[in-house]
Every structure is written in structure tokens, then in C-alpha cells.
């Protein structure tokens, strides 16, 4: 259990409900850290607000519990200020996909070197069970008492379309895959995204005949298909299934904080050369001022 060094063990047991998948995902993450030899003194883990975002309370490194939805924006500041640090975001589906959706697509678009792990339990756990953008269609939650009217949503597809250069999905049942994908994400140079389906027996499960965490894990086991296998299946066969696996992995796209530093090197070099340049004439003649 060498990986336990990544936890603030003095603060365990954690606050999560019995059988909450978030603890399992946290376990997979620290094993991936161990595997990747993550340096606890050069890593910052950033979360938002939610049960999932409480992970940063237990990780034994620099951690920050920010405001709801904004983890990636804080992380962007940290990464740009200290590109040498490993920056990881861990947060929930509500946090990253609902209120934080814009920061997610823009972090992906910039390909900034942050590893983002979405603990997707398809519900707002912390606030007691309202629907999230990832709640399955038809499910009952406290804000969809008559069955959820919205469609199912594929977050990995969105993040990939936004420009992420590493994208994978696993579940709290598939711990070994999770460890593998998170390790690869941590090694990736660019924006890497791993969605991990996690169970919330207390709110999603209880209202949808899966009050037992074991039932929820069986649900993950029985309704997921590996990407490779899915590619060989017909659409009808995939009905109701969630595809897991590595969806996207590309290199050669410049990582943003490095690309920025390269520009800085170019510009500040030029600046040194042409010493004494004044900033006084920044406004081009004829440029009129600014509005709204």
C-alpha cells in the first residue's frame, strides 16, 4: 500500500457515504500516481465543489478546493504561473459539465497541460440528488421527479471536439483501466481528460432501484462496452450501453503553457536586444477607444 503516502491518512475515514464510488476513484488515482512516480511536492490538485471535489481534502500534496465549477480556471492560472508543476483537476459531473462546462471546453481548446479527472456519478451528490447534465434520460432525481426529460450526453465526445489531446473513460468498477488511463493522462503533454463513472448509491441509486452500491457496480459492469468491441457492434446493440476505453490520444499539438513560454522567450529576447523600447506608443494612430 505504498500509494497510501499520497493520502492525508490522518484525515481518514473520508466523509463519503458507505459505498460511494468517489473513494474508489481516489484509490485508482493514487495508484496511478504511484505508478507514475508523481512528486508530491511538485503537484497541485485542484477541485471545485461537490462530494467528488472533496478528494482534494485527502490527497497529501498541494491541494485547493475552489468555487463550484471553476477548478479548471484556477488550475489554468496555476499552470501558467508554474508550468513546472504537475497540475491535476478532480471534480464531479455537475462541477465540470454543468456550471464549469465553459472552462472545460476552453482548457481543452488551449491544450493546457492539466490532467482533468471527472468523477461522474450522473447526479449532484453534495446537494442531495438533483439531475446533472450526465443523468441518464428517464431517471428519477429530486429535480426530475417525473423522469428526466433531457437526453443522454457524451462528455468525452464534447471534450475531444473541444480539443483535448488525451481522452478516456472508465468506471469505478474497472479500477485497473482507471489506473492505466490516469497514468497515461498524467504522462501526457497537453490537456488530458479521464471520465470515471462513479456510483452515488445514496441519491442516484436509491431513487432508481440501485440503493446498494454493489448493484450500481454491477450496472457499470453490465452496461459498459470497451471501445474496441463497440467499434465492431451495430448501433442497435450499443443501445443503452456506455462505451469505455481510450478515445483519443494525440501528440505533436503544442502544450499551451509551453507555447506561451516560447513566445515569451522570443519576445523578451527581442526586448533585451532592443533595450529601452518605450511602451508609450502602443496605441496605433487613429485607433479610437473602446466600447461596451
Amino acid at each position: 500500500m505504498k500509494e497510501l503516502r499520497y493520502l492525508r491518512q490522518e484525515h481518514l475515514p473520508n466523509i463519503w457515504c458507505a459505498g460511494c464510488g468517489h473513494g474508489t476513484v481516489l484509490g485508482s488515482v493514487i495508484r496511478a500516481m504511484e505508478k507514475s512516480g508523481i512528486d508530491q511536492d511538485r503537484t497541485v490538485v485542484v477541485s471545485g465543489i461537490g462530494c467528488s471535489s472533496r478528494t482534494v481534502f485527502y490527497l497529501n500534496m498541494d491541494t485547493i478546493h475552489t468555487t463550484h465549477g471553476r477548478a479548471l480556471a484556477f488550475a489554468t492560472g496555476i499552470k501558467l504561473a508554474r508550468p513546472d508543476l504537475k497540475v491535476i483537476v478532480m471534480a464531479g459531473d455537475g462541477d465540470l459539465a454543468a456550471i464549469g462546462g465553459n472552462h472545460l471546453i476552453h482548457a481543452a481548446r488551449r491544450n493546457i497541460g492539466i490532467t482533468c479527472i471527472c468523477l461522474n456519478n450522473g447526479i449532484y451528490g453534495m446537494t442531495s440528488g438533483q439531475y446533472s447534465p450526465l443523468t441518464p434520460a428517464g431517471y428519477v432525481t429530486t429535480t426530475s421527479p417525473h423522469g428526466h426529460v433531457e437526453r443522454d450526453f457524451d462528455l468525452c465526445k464534447l471534450v475531444q471536439a473541444a480539443g483535448a489531446t488525451y481522452v478516456a473513460r472508465s468506471t469505478a468498477y474497472h479500477t485497473q483501466q482507471t489506473i492505466m488511463y490516469v497514468s497515461r493522462a498524467l504522462a501526457h503533454d497537453g490537456f488530458s481528460f479521464v471520465e470515471v463513472l462513479s456510483q452515488c448509491p445514496t441519491y442516484l441509486g436509491r431513487r432508481n432501484r440501485m440503493a446498494d452500491p454493489v448493484t450500481m457496480l454491477e450496472w457499470f459492469r453490465d452496461t459498459t462496452v470497451m471501445a474496441g468491441a463497440a467499434a465492431r457492434m451495430k448501433p442497435e446493440e450499443l443501445e443503452g450501453k456506455t462505451i469505455i476505453g481510450e478515445f483519443h490520444r494525440t501528440t505533436g499539438v503544442p502544450e499551451y503553457s509551453r507555447a506561451y513560454r516560447e513566445m515569451v522567450a522570443r519576445v523578451s529576447g527581442a526586448e533585451m536586444a532592443q533595450a529601452g523600447a518605450s511602451g508609450a506608443n502602443l496605441m496605433p494612430v487613429g485607433s479610437e477607444p473602446h466600447v461596451e
Partner: protein, 83 residues
């Protein structure tokens, strides 16, 4: 290669929340739920060291200790093969 063996399976009772996940997915049924709701070992020998109980436990509360001698032997074998 000799099959791997568990020397012990430790449960941290102050962290365990009795969720039952470890027991439910132990293929060889090496574990069961005891009277207090916690997992307990019923067949250490049956344990295949798949580690899934430990990997899936949301509370870092169960630890499968591999038999060191076995492990050492195995490592030696592996090293030989690798060489």
C-alpha cells in the same frame, strides 16, 4: 510459476464503512460479511490475489498482503525469465 498466495487480508475497521463491495465481487468467495457488517476472511487459500477487493474498496480499508516467500520466489523466476 507457482500460483500467488495471500498471507493475510487486513481490514481497517475504523475506516471500513461496511459497504459490502469487497465481498460481493470476490470471485473465489474468500471473503464474507460478518455479524457487524464488516468483511471477514473465510478462505484465505482461495484468494487469488486479484486485488480487486483492495482496488475497489472506497475507503482504503482492506489490504491483501501477499505471501512474501511466494512473492520472492516469483520475483526470482520473473527475473530469470526477463534475463
Amino acid at each position: 510459476m507457482a500460483p500467488r498466495k495471500a498471507r493475510a487480508i487486513e481490514v481497517n475497521t475504523s475506516w471500513c464503512k461496511k459497504c459490502g463491495i469487497c465481498v460481493a465481487f470476490c470471485g473465489p468467495e474468500a471473503l464474507r460479511v460478518n455479524g457487524t457488517g464488516m468483511p471477514e476472511v473465510v478462505a484465505l487459500d482461495a484468494c487469488t490475489l486479484c486485488m480487486l477487493c483492495e482496488l475497489r474498496c472506497p475507503d482504503f480499508a482492506i489490504h491483501v498482503v501477499e505471501d512474501k516467500e511466494e512473492a520472492a520466489a516469483r520475483d526470482a523466476t520473473a527475473a530469470a525469465h526477463a534475463g
